[in-house]
């Protein structure tokens, strides 16, 4: 009974921390994009606009929940929940430090891929059930985009699994720490680049945000949504960004550890708690997300599919072949 209580408290703490992060990521995004475009970003609510996320939250949750009259009512209403639940569930298998993990699964990496592939149903169904051309096209685009880029994502992670010899995220980090370089991003540079690009496409972020391309599709699958259902989609997108950033930190950047050759030179860095290294890596990846959004124009849809199938998948296969040769001959 006590164990169950501790589990519930741990889960609440993790979800609370992540949701706070999500709220302030929207603020960071507006500030950073503002700076990139020589603006100030939000400044009105609180000092430097620091209370802006709370104001947005209050506004959006007190708006009227509108369901279009010709929509498939039930599916329209549960679609945002599908996206949010299957994204949040990923937080349970992520090891934040060497001993803080909610559920230590043997197949943690596959679990994340599996729930990511189920959460896309929410987007497809949102597009279909809205009964609107724009939503429907957004949903279709999302289906083919996620289907194509999931292969590239899986291939790039397969290199990591091959090198570490485990699907358990904690074992991957430990195996990584025991290599000479301490991170997989350097020996598996091809896989790393493929992963980063595929992660952008998996989370429907710029420059691959075609399912919600506002220049063509109004807001894509979100067009008919309003109030808190819209907010749930938004929440899920940012949680998914954090999941991908954590996955990148764990699989390619060494998770909560830092390379051994650095601690050999600067021994006092060993005293820094692991969660800080993990947080720094995750924040860096989130910053990259925002930076890319401020910098790159959106791709066309055929360009997106060409990149996925003709560049990323062959590159991912090449990465696996290289890793397999290295692993076989223990170079």
């Amino acid at each position: 009974m006590i164990e169950l209580l501790i589990m519930v408290i741990k889960t609440t703490v993790v979800f609370g921390i992540v949701l706070t992060h999500v709220a302030y990521t929207t603020y960071a995004e507006r500030k950073i994009i503002g700076r990139a475009q020589a603006r100030m970003g939000p400044m009105e609510v609180g000092p430097h606009g620091l209370l802006q996320p709370i104001a947005d939250f209050i506004k959006i949750f007190f708006k009227e929940d509108i369901v279009p009259i010709n929509a498939e009512k039930f599916i329209f209403q549960i679609a945002p929940l599908i996206v949010l639940i299957f994204t949040m569930i990923n937080l349970t298998v992520i090891p934040f430090t060497s001993n803080f993990i909610l559920a230590d699964l043997n197949v943690g990496l596959l679990f994340i891929l599996a729930s990511a592939s189920v959460s896309v149903y929410g987007i497809i169904l949102a597009g279909w059930s809205s009964n609107s051309k724009y939503s429907f096209l957004g949903g279709l685009r999302s289906a083919s985009q996620v289907l194509s880029y999931e292969i590239a994502l899986g291939l790039s992670l397969a290199g990591v699994v091959l090198a570490a010899g485990s699907l358990n995220l904690r074992d991957i980090v430990i195996a990584q720490h025991n290599t000479a370089l301490g991170v997989y991003a350097i020996p598996q540079i091809i896989g790393f680049v493929v992963f980063v690009i595929a992660a952008f496409a998996e989370t429907n972020r710029a420059p691959f945000d075609l399912p919600e391309a506002e220049t063509e599709l109004v807001a894509g699958y979100l067009t008919e949504y309003s109030a808190f259902r819209y907010a749930l989609f938004f929440l899920a997108e940012y949680v998914a960004m954090y999941i991908m950033a954590s996955l990148c930190a764990l699989c390619f950047l060494g998770g909560w550890t830092i390379p051994k050759f650095i601690t050999d030179i600067l021994p006092f860095l060993d005293k820094v708690p692991g969660i800080i290294w993990f947080a720094i890596k995750v924040y860096a990846f989130i910053f990259l997300y925002i930076w890319v959004r401020a910098t790159f124009p959106r791709y066309r849809f055929d360009q997106l599919l060409n990149i996925g199938w003709k560049v990323l998948i062959p590159a991912g296969i090449l990465n696996i072949i290289i890793i397999a040769i290295f692993k076989r001959f223990a170079l």
Binding site: I75, L105, N106, V107, L110, F111, L113, A114, S115, A116, S117, V118, V120, Y121, I124, L125, W128, F136, G139, L140, A143, S144, V146, L147, E150, L167
Partner: protein, 171 residues
């Protein structure tokens, strides 16, 4: 407690399959199928086959069903076709029903309820489910895996040939 959870998943699997088969709207049928695949994944977990459970979700729910939905959307199918099909005549129904029953009987008669060979509970527990499957597939059934790979490659080539378009062809 665990028996009640197992009973729920068994009964729900049956109920959901019936729901999926009887829906008039094809999109609803696919959604029930999605729920079915998730339940089947949990039944795999009861067998300690966590790798199979995850693959079940990634491959069937994540890839194949999305393709189903995609096709349904592209064809704009809102309802099942009304005209006569081979399943609406008695011989067709009998043929399908009897062949499925025969297959099930053949499968059930060859199931053994005990563990045989070197793949004991202890072995699987020691090396992990994922590794046990990998070792078995690539050592004992390597030829079958290769043949499966070729079988999957042929439709890929066929699709590429169907979709082939020369550079100067703008139609």
């Amino acid at each position: 407690m665990i028996y009640f959870i197992f009973a729920y998943f068994c009964l729900a699997t049956l109920g959901i399959s019936i729901m999926s088969l009887t829906r008039k709207n094809p999109v609803h049928a696919v959604l029930w199928l999605l729920l079915l695949f998730l339940h089947v994944a949990v039944i795999y977990l009861f067998l300690n086959a966590e790798f199979l459970a995850m693959v079940q979700v990634i491959v069937y729910a994540g890839a194949i069903l999305v393709m189903f939905l995609f096709t349904l959307f592209l064809l704009g199918a809102r309802q099942l076709p009304k005209h006569k099909r081979y399943t609406s005549i008695l011989e067709g129904r009998l043929l399908i029903g009897l062949s499925i029953t025969a297959t099930l009987l053949a499968v059930f008669s060859s199931i053994k309820a005990e563990y045989s060979g070197k793949y004991t509970i202890k072995y699987v527990h020691d090396v992990g489910n994922t590794k046990a499957i990998g070792v078995m597939l690539f050592n004992e059934y390597s030829l079958a895996v290769l043949i499966l790979g070729v079988i999957l490659l042929i439709p890929m080539i066929a699709v590429s040939v169907l979709a082939w378009r020369r550079k100067d062809d703008t139609s």
